[in-house]
Point group: C2
Chain length 271, copies 2
């Protein structure tokens, strides 16, 4: 049985170990329009890998392909270590529910992060302090209520009638609504916590779904533990919307100016 833990995020991403088949379940706290928040699904997959007895090293990259909607309730995670090398591991995870086939297909790379030359070429974005910005009001989807969004640029304004195309760029602070120390799992989830770029570009809500999401981790668990933070500065943008699909790329920064993760996704839209 799953027992209640301290934080809704840890409940939502809880997994039960199996041999190669693990279990998880969707959480009403992280529900989106037609299924669970994709970031929670991605974090649940990552949790199964991090907690796997064969796991070694830190998450380096995770790609999640959302193949079909996930229904409310339990799901299975078929976890497979495809290849292990001296300093890296390649994983494949399939999420399925009963006989409905694969709903989510993910691949991950774990790696020993050895000391090396280090250079951050990207520039830390200017940002007003978190405390000086009004929180984004709660909206319908429950997952949005789990986060504290403070928009610096690209404040969502999805009332139709605005002139478009508007900029797809957003800059915001993001943290868990119930503060929780940022770890690999919440970093993964937050990499999918941007609102759809097409909503910003169009100034309205349209049917939307992420198809494939890839996040790279530029900090290991030690780096993250040292940061000891509960929020991130995040930027996201899009380059193109064409023939029903659009892209998104994003950066997740620690308040101290360290680039923790970069993320990219391609998503379906109807407009």
């Amino acid at each position: 049985m799953l027992t209640k833990s301290e934080h809704p995020f840890d409940d939502a991403t809880r997994v039960t170990a199996g041999d190669s088949r693990w279990q998880g379940r969707t959480s009403p706290d992280y529900w989106a329009f037609v299924g669970p928040f994709g970031g929670a699904t991605a974090a649940t997959i990552l949790r199964a890998l991090i907690e796997h007895p064969q796991a070694s090293g830190d998450p380096l990259s995770l790609t999640v392909n959302y193949c079909a909607p996930i229904a409310e309730g339990p799901f299975d995670l078929d976890v497979r270590l495809v290849k292990a090398n001296r300093s890296s591991q390649h994983w494949c995870v399939e999420l399925s529910q009963g006989g409905a086939g694969v709903a989510t297909l993910a691949t991950a790379v774990f790696a020993e992060r050895r000391r090396s030359w280090s250079h951050q070429q990207a520039t830390f974005p200017d940002a007003k302090p978190f405390e000086q910005i009004q929180p984004y009001p709660n909206v319908a989807a429950t997952w949005v209520k789990q986060y504290d969004f403070r928009f610096i640029d690209g404040d969502p304004d999805f009332r139709s009638g605005k002139a478009y195309p508007a900029s797809a760029f957003s800059k915001l602070w993001i943290g868990d609504r119930v503060p929780r120390k940022i770890d690999m799992l919440s970093l993964m989830a937050m990499s999918d916590a941007f609102f759809a770029r097409v909503f910003h570009a169009r100034g309205e809500l349209v049917p939307f779904g992420t198809v494939s999401l890839t996040t790279y981790f530029h900090a290991d668990a030690d780096d993250l533990a040292k940061e000891d933070i509960t929020r991130l500065l995040a930027v996201a943008d899009a380059k193109i919307f064409h023939k029903s699909y659009g892209d998104q790329s994003g950066e997740l920064w620690s308040p101290s100016g360290r680039l923790l993760a970069t993320t990219t996704q391609i998503a379906y839209f109807k407009a």
Copy 2:
């Protein structure tokens, strides 16, 4: 038996159909330092999918995880349609050689690209015409000789002794050395044809290997056929190098100013 076709790229990426197991082989024409050029491997995987009798729609995204070196010679491609929906397909491909386990693990999404609202937010980079730029001299790796690189910014200069960190940004024209019309396959290969960002940032060659590569296609086969081009304008940059891994993101543009593909990768380096 494989027969010789007109273009070395088509030879290098040739596949022989099986049921779920297809075959390919490495090409001496597209050889890198310790294995085949990763872009050729990615394009070979994509070719197996495009030529697959169950394939439907156009490539939308391809993620390739390079798990282990590929030896010279033949390899098997285990091709699996993980999920098919009304308008999209999710594929998984494992490349292996004999009993050596999986060397490359890839996931792909194919989609019907329906007409929609279209908006290109990204700006076409300024560039001197291809003809006004000297070709990049041939270097040791055979794969580099297969391409005609014309650098606008970030001309590779990997003599040690330069001040670093230098900019990791590059802008260049790229085409097949033997001109070949750009299709999905060459677009995929060219998305991995940037020199390592760490070479640029450090101003020297260091041990390097791509670990995971993701490319999104923003044009379908019809769009590409209409472009009728043999070269691309490409930009690539990096955000961070840390604890032995660095990122790269890139854009591939048609000369007419259409964004055809975006790409991102995470790579190992030793420095």
